[in-house]
């Protein structure tokens, strides 16, 4: 058996989503997973606080969500593919999230791309 990953591996400044992260972020990801259904997207848009409470988010997790702090949600165990569903509801596309992770504006981020029209 060859170990595939160093303990608490970080690659290119990023955490690797492993079982430890997944357990830590379970509530966040379960909430985001529900957003694959239209009625849950409506429920989230209608009353975000009640929606977060229904998925037992902790106070810290709720605060990250209220601030639309995507790097913070990732650090709390959010998985990027589940956060993308949250992005749809909160009108934060992947590239907006990415700009935030890079500490740039959306425009700054786009200016670094080879073909910024391929959004």
């Amino acid at each position: 058996m060859i170990q595939q990953l160093e303990r608490d591996a970080r690659v290119a400044g990023s955490d690797v989503f492993d079982l430890s992260t997944s357990w830590r972020g379970y509530r966040i990801n379960k909430m985001c997973n529900a957003l694959s259904q239209a009625q849950n997207r409506d429920a989230c848009a209608r009353d975000e606080e009640a929606f977060m409470a229904a998925y037992s988010l902790t106070d810290d997790e709720k605060e990250l969500m209220r601030k639309r702090d995507f790097p913070g949600l990732l650090a709390a165990g959010g998985n990027i593919y589940f956060l993308i569903k949250l992005g749809v509801v909160t009108r934060n596309g992947l590239y907006h999230m990415g700009a935030q992770m890079r500490g740039e504006s959306y425009e700054q981020f786009l200016s670094t791309r080879n073909q910024r029209e391929a959004v």
Binding site: A9, S14, N33, G98, G103, R113
Partner: protein
Amino acid sequence: MGRIVAGIRTSHVPSIGGAYDRGRDSTPAWKPLFDAYVPVRAWLKEMEVDAAIMVYNDHGADFFFDKYPTFAVGCAESYAIADEGFGVRPLPVIPGDLAFSQHLCRSLVYDEFDITICQEMRVEHGFLVPMHLCFEHGESWPVPTIPIAVNVLQHPLPTARRCHRLGQAIGRAVASFERDIRVAIIGTGGMSHQLTGTEFGAMHTENDLDFLERIESDPDSLLQLTHQQLMEKFGVEGIELIMWLVMRGALPDNVRRIHRNDYAPMTTGMGLITLQGDA
């Protein structure tokens, strides 16, 4: 007995789906990507394929971390289009081939692959983008397709070698099928991308080109790479490339390359390579 006659590796970037649905395939930003698939579709038609196997990963559309399989194989008459969080895309339901799926599942399990067998499975961009890039559709799709989902989201992921071995086992399963079907296998995902952290959007075009070269001429050199090494070369999310190895394992050793393309407009290396296995 079945035969794998065509192998395709392609990215499955979701924005390709968005561009497709909005009819933007001829804009300057998207034309270089979409044009590369025109000859692929013609070639696949010529190859008279009876069934396709799509090796892809679910990105949270139909699987959640409550019960997360390493390998999941579709075993149904058809597969619905999943809602990924923005409604259901206007695409026809995917026809399956039930008897072929059942044979594949039996063969893989008896061959010591511990698959999760899915009699209900909804498919998403990881599956659908390659589908509409490779096949035309009106009201329906021209070939039945079997989904095989690989865990590339939640480490521990299957090793590169295990993915290649899964491909070899798929090859054995196809060869032992009772019907003389011609099968295409499509390995999707990648190439280099990083969707988290301060290096969001980083691409590694040199490494992508090297990978395209090796998967054609020297796949063995890729099998010993650890996930750590692969992520260092291709970014954290670029680990999806292990799915190309499933497809490579299913093909005979000697293959002829037919098409090749790469394009990197935004945040992901969009690679394409097709191989013909009847050489």
